[in-house]
């Protein structure tokens, strides 16, 4: 059974549909990557999965359970984490407080998780008492991912985690994503750096105008000349 599966999802903002039949499925051991032109509906797909938009048609299933239109906090309880594309840290709160907010639903002692996040992102450890608003873009991205990891999710949704980062930082983030995936977390991520992302992807989805254009393994998409021509910049 797939970890997460979107079946013919239609969704949008206030009446107008942006997504017109999105299909995707990944297993718990996999990294799925969504690519596509600006405005294709990539972020909208993640928001629809995470209950931030109303799904008007089709369904979204987590391990076979229908989770369409469940509220975000319910989904966190079900073991999902989401890192939005923008405004993804609490700027006025310290790094550690950001992580604590990620663990809001946990009533147990989660200090071991804090340590684990710090060992994942060593940069953050020194900055733990600093407001997240004072960090660099890459560090913020780490705080955001760390925040989502605090509940030890089984599925992590990432919206352009490398946007605006230098190539060096980008590779570092991708390494972290692989490591997170290897620790047993399914990852579904939207990426603009399509080639690099598809290289680490088990599954790839090319979205255009709110629909899947291509769906295959990451490697096959990279090798597909048509995909390369129209979506990967030659």
């Amino acid at each position: 059974m797939a970890l997460i599966e979107c079946k013919n999802v239609h969704a949008g903002y206030g009446g107008m549909n942006i997504l017109n039949g999105v299909n995707m499925a990944i297993e718990s051991s996999e990294i799925g990557v969504i690519v596509g032109p600006n405005g294709a509906g990539k972020s909208t797909t993640l928001k629809a999965i995470f209950g931030l938009l109303t799904v008007s048609e089709g369904s979204i299933e987590l391990r076979g359970d229908d989770i369409s239109n469940l509220a975000p906090d319910k989904l966190v309880h079900k073991g999902m984490g989401f890192v939005p594309q923008e405004h993804n840290v609490f700027v006025s709160m310290t790094v550690e407080e950001n992580l604590e907010m990620g663990a809001f639903i946990r009533r147990d002692d989660f200090s071991y998780m804090l340590e684990r996040v710090y060992s994942f992102f060593p940069d953050l450890k020194d900055k733990r008492r600093q407001p997240a608003g004072e960090l660099s873009g890459g560090q913020r991205q780490m705080v955001a991912m760390g925040r989502a990891l605090m509940v030890e999710p089984s599925l992590l949704l990432l919206d352009e985690p490398t946007a605006g980062l230098s190539p060096l930082y980008m590779n570092e983030i991708f390494e972290r994503v692989i490591a997170i995936n290897e620790s047993g977390v399914g990852v579904l991520m939207v990426e603009q750096n399509a080639k690099q992302a598809l290289r680490i992807a088990h599954k790839g989805f090319v979205l255009a105008a709110g629909k899947n254009r291509f769906t295959d393994t990451g490697q096959n998409l990279l090798n597909d000349p048509e995909v390369a021509k129209s979506f990967l910049g030659g």
Binding site: Y13, G14, G15, M16
Partner: protein, 421 residues
């Protein structure tokens, strides 16, 4: 123009309600209610364009009403010879000169930077000078104002035609709106609400306490009318001619708004209202448009207030109440349909009739309660029960606002909102 069925039904109901009022209360009373309702309709039109066209929250309608009323009193009330035949006008003019001089000095000080005086020195100098000059003017106004009050009562009016007062009242209301709007419109929408609430209370406080200008709590009456008064042609005829005057005024306003609404100006306005985000690209222009709407609406409120006070024939600054002159208008507009002028006029007439009827109804119910309570339980009602009973109307107005927002946010005559997403 084809009226939808719902509109016909609603307006027929309103006509029936008016007939019932005529049948049960007699025509003198009924025409009075309608004339007052027509003044309220002008206020409501002003609010309707502010809220309906531009989403501006004006919580200070009362202030504009009071201002319009005051200006019309000042312009149209007969001149006071006790004042003009003394040397008081000269003294008052002297204070005015001092004020002008002070403003000029402060302005001059702000220009010190041309002489190369640094900001560190300029700012304290300006502040201290303003404070001293302000105190100088205020302390010299004090004795003059006292002298006017003791010798002449107040300065009286200017004896000009009533319509001059209405126009100037509208213009000054617009000026105040410019001042407030200029500061608040670029900011969060709530700030305008707070600022208008404040300016209304300040205008009221000023009119209530500046006895030399307004007679304060002593009130000024009788105000002249733009049409023959009851003494000349009888109650019904006088009120009916007043009503026709305001009706013509409403028709003119309605027509002008209709024209503006369908002109490019109105289209931009609607685009801003319906889709604020995408038209935000136009940047500052939005605030300019909003400011125009805010001023225009406030001018209408000034004129409506002038008409209302003139009709009542008495200028009583303590009589301006947020409930009667702000929130009642709000109920009219949101119930009728903000931005829809037809609905707004409907709401104004309908709500005003209900409002006037609710006062005797509340008193009657309290009376019944008192009699029954006394007869059955030997209950001794508190003495101020009547004034308390009227407070029940405050509750009802609040309840209607809450219910309309919740269940019929677009009112009875919804304004069509386009979605160009």
């Amino acid at each position: 123009m084809q009226l939808p069925k719902k509109d016909i039904i609603l307006f027929s109901l309103l006509a029936a309600l008016i007939l019932i009022v005529f049948a049960s209360q007699g025509s003198a009373y009924s025409v009075r209610v309608l004339a007052e309702a027509s003044c309220y309709a002008i206020l409501a039109l002003g609010l309707s364009i502010q809220w309906g066209y531009a989403g501006l929250f004006n919580a200070g309608i009362m202030g504009f009403v009071a201002l319009g009323g005051f200006i019309t009193m000042l312009f149209s009330f007969p001149t006071n010879d006790d004042f003009w035949n003394t040397d008081l006008p000269g003294q008052l003019g002297g204070v005015g000169l001092k004020a002008i001089l002070s403003v000029a000095i402060v302005y001059g000080l702000t220009q010190l930077k041309r002489l190369g005086v640094s900001k560190k020195i300029r700012l304290p100098v300006i502040i201290i000078a303003s404070a001293i000059l302000y105190l100088w003017v205020v302390t010299s106004l004090g004795p003059v104002a006292e002298a006017i009050e003791s010798e002449a009562g107040f300065i009286g009016g200017l004896g000009l035609p009533v319509w001059v007062g209405w126009l100037v009242g509208g213009a000054i209301a617009g000026g105040i709106a410019y001042f407030i709007g200029h500061i608040c419109l670029g900011l969060r929408s709530d700030y305008l609400a707070i600022a208008t609430l404040g300016i209304a209370e300040i205008i009221k406080a000023f009119l209530k306490n500046a006895d030399w200008l307004t007679r304060g709590t002593l009130t000024v009456s009788p105000l002249p009318w733009p049409v023959p008064q009851a003494g000349e042609i009888g109650f019904v005829a006088a009120r009916a001619s007043y009503l026709s005057l305001t009706a013509v005024l409403i028709a003119v306003i309605y027509f002008l708004l209709y024209r503006a609404y369908n002109a490019p100006w109105g289209r931009t306005m609607r685009a801003i209202r319906d889709n604020e985000n995408s038209s935000a690209a136009m940047g500052k222009d939005i605030n300019r448009r909003r400011l125009e709407v805010f001023i225009l609406g406030s001018v209408l409120m000034g004129i409506g207030g002038a008409a209302l006070v003139t009709f009542n024939g008495i200028f009583d600054p303590s009589g301006f109440l947020p409930l009667n002159h702000t929130f009642l208008v709000w109920v009219m507009v949101i119930l009728g349909g903000a931005g829809n002028n037809k609905g707004t006029i409907f709401g104004a007439v309908f709500i005003y009739i209900i409002w006037t009827m609710s006062e005797p109804a509340a008193l009657f119910m309290i009376d019944v309660a008192r009699t029954l309570g006394d007869a059955w339980f030997g209950w001794q009602a508190p003495g101020d029960l009547d004034s308390r009973a009227l407070q029940a109307r405050v509750f009802v107005i609040g309840l209607i606002i809450s219910l309309v927002l919740r269940y019929a946010p677009k009112g009875l005559f919804p304004e069509k909102v386009a979605h160009h997403a």
